[in-house]
Amino acid sequence: MTLAAFVDEAAIASGAAELRGAASTVAFDRVSVAYRGAVVLKPLTLEVAAGEILAMIGPSGSGKTTALRAVAGFVRPASGRIRIGGVDVTDQPPYARGLAMVVQNYALFPHMRVFDNVAFGLHARGAPKSLIEERVAEALKVVGMTQYVRRYPRELSGGQQQRIAIARAHAVRPKVLLLDEPLSALDAQIRRSMVEEIARLHAELPGLTILYVTHDQSEALTLADRIAILKDGALSAVGRTGDLYRRPPNRFSAEFLGRANLVPVVVESDADASGLVAVRAGGERLIVSGADERAGASRLLCVRPQNLTLAPDDGHTNRLAGTLREIHWQGELTHLVAEVGGALMRVVATKLPTTPTRGERLDMFFSPDDASLIAEEADV
């Protein structure tokens, strides 16, 4: 980020309308970003609905942060347009976009007290004093930090500092709130409570559109209405959180979001009217969900570790037999790794009637509804 990035005089007036705030959509229209000729974000087309939380997840270098920075105006797209609330902001400087951001290291101004940190954006947008006092008080109340108004950031814990950063962003009533790995610097316990707080904040402000970049799938699964998975600078999958989790469209999204088990299978018969299809995995015949599947096709069977049980029942009618390779007790959960026809399958069990030992046969059962089929060649 440089000063040159926000000295553009094409600023929009920051008046009362902006301070009132308005929920807005975000649209990436074939947006690509390149640094010195190297493409780090391939043409991306994606829309975020007003009031929606869209989580962008992916491994390091996947382009998720670059996409967020393009929305903020910190990087200029090599091609494509970015629209916020239907307005093309591609050529606008960051200060004119009506956004706010919360980042991993909080980025609070260390020489300012909590009040001045939260009031910063309101001062910058020319808000009157009475509105500033009202907004700061309200924002601090939302994050439960009213009593810390006179403190400096150095006098606060990491979690408290992040609350102030959220209050600072909330105070300006942004069109869109950008969250860039906001909880990564916090320890696990505080992170869990902050995820709940962000969820509560969004519930109280249902019109607020949030673009949430994280590498932590549990944050994305907890908060997001929809998830976009990026890989190598390209969009690998996008969909409603539950759908994407239950029916991942490709191998990468299945493995990245929830570490699904993937077993090569061959479709035995065309899908029936109820959308079920018979597949063969080694010597086992299985019935799984698979509308539009055709006999003879090679697929990957996708089943989540927690959907496998070690005992059959009325629902869990499919059986896969394997050999137990690893077993890890983790308190409330036990993780088992079994080998099935050369592929490793993970099982997460809440309680085991008997503890199996390494090397013994392990039968794993699952329901047809808990499994899906992925085209083998569809890697992205």
């Binding site: 000063l3 960051p94 200060y95 706010a100 951001m101 290291n105 910063f120 910058a124």
Partner: protein
């Protein structure tokens, strides 16, 4: 038993403490002893008797007061100018991307390595009576006399000192700017702040200790600057170091020279004390 065991260790000489001796000896021989001689010469007369009459006469003289005022005015103006110039350059180099920014920073750094009179010599070629600027103006407007005279006034000294000492402000500021959290700048801009507000409310507070350190060093050096003032030879611009030189070399009045030197030393140490106090307070 334990006493017997502890005794040999207790009587051992700690040879490590002797390492303090070489620097102390060097300090005494190279600094404290000559300073004592100067202080002695300032208040003892030719008969080696304590006599403050000459000291009071020197301190009450018009020449001394003028030199003191000149020194303060030039040092403060040159420091303010160096801070303004150094800050502007540092902001451009650190935050406005342009090809060769690092090279420019290194080039400005080389001023630190050059002798101070070199800038003055360059100024003479540029702005002197027979310099490039006056030559061009005289020729262009068919003038009889060179129109630009500022070099031979206090302004010439101030400008030359600014040129020489700005890198002393620029370097610590660049170091401080490199440590400013870019996230703070980005968040501030997204919250609606434009460049001047960001400079004023985000960048400068973070760089204040560096600016104070650089400015204090600049003030110390300009208070004691001798070469530039002598080389420019501006009429009526006599500073404390130049007055010491005049008294000692041209008038052979060593006692007056020593009295003024002690004032100069006190001024420098006082400024240094203020700098350290400010640096401690601001965490520099």
């Amino acid at each position: 038993m334990s006493d017997a065991a502890a005794s040999p260790r207790g009587t051992r000489v700690d040879l490590g403490a002797l390492w303090v001796a070489p620097p102390l000896i060097a300090l005494a021989v190279l600094f404290l002893y000559p300073l004592t001689l100067i202080a002695h010469a300032a208040v003892y007369d030719a008969n080696d008797a304590l006599n403050f009459a000459a000291a009071w006469a020197t301190l009450g003289s018009r020449a001394f007061l003028n030199a003191l005022i000149n020194t303060a005015e030039i040092a403060l103006a040159a420091t303010a100018g160096s801070l303004a110039l150094g800050l502007t350059l540092a902001l451009i180099i650190a935050f406005v991307p342009f090809p060769g920014a690092t090279f420019v920073a290194r080039l400005i750094d080389t001023f630190i390595a050059l002798p101070t009179f070199l800038a003055t010599l360059a100024f003479t070629f540029l702005y002197g009576s027979a310099g490039v600027l006056n030559g061009a103006l005289t020729q262009a407007f068919h003038l009889g006399d060179p129109p630009v005279h500022f070099l031979y006034s206090a302004w010439g000294v101030i400008l030359a000192e600014m040129t020489v000492y700005s890198p002393f402000v620029l370097r610590p500021l660049l170091a401080a700017f490199s440590l400013v959290d870019r996230g703070q700048i980005e968040v501030a801009s997204l919250l609606g702040a434009r460049s001047w507000r960001i400079v004023r409310q985000v960048i400068l507070p973070a760089a204040l200790p560096a600016a104070i350190a650089g400015g204090s060093l600049c003030l110390l050096l300009t208070v004691n600057e001798f070469g530039i003032v002598l080389f420019i030879g501006a009429k009526g611009v006599i500073t404390l170091p130049l007055l010491i030189y005049d008294k000692a070399i041209q008038e052979s009045d060593y006692q007056a020279a020593c009295v003024i030197a002690m004032i100069n030393v006190a001024l420098s140490l006082g400024l240094f004390g203020l700098y350290r106090a400010a640096a401690r307070r601001l965490g520099a």
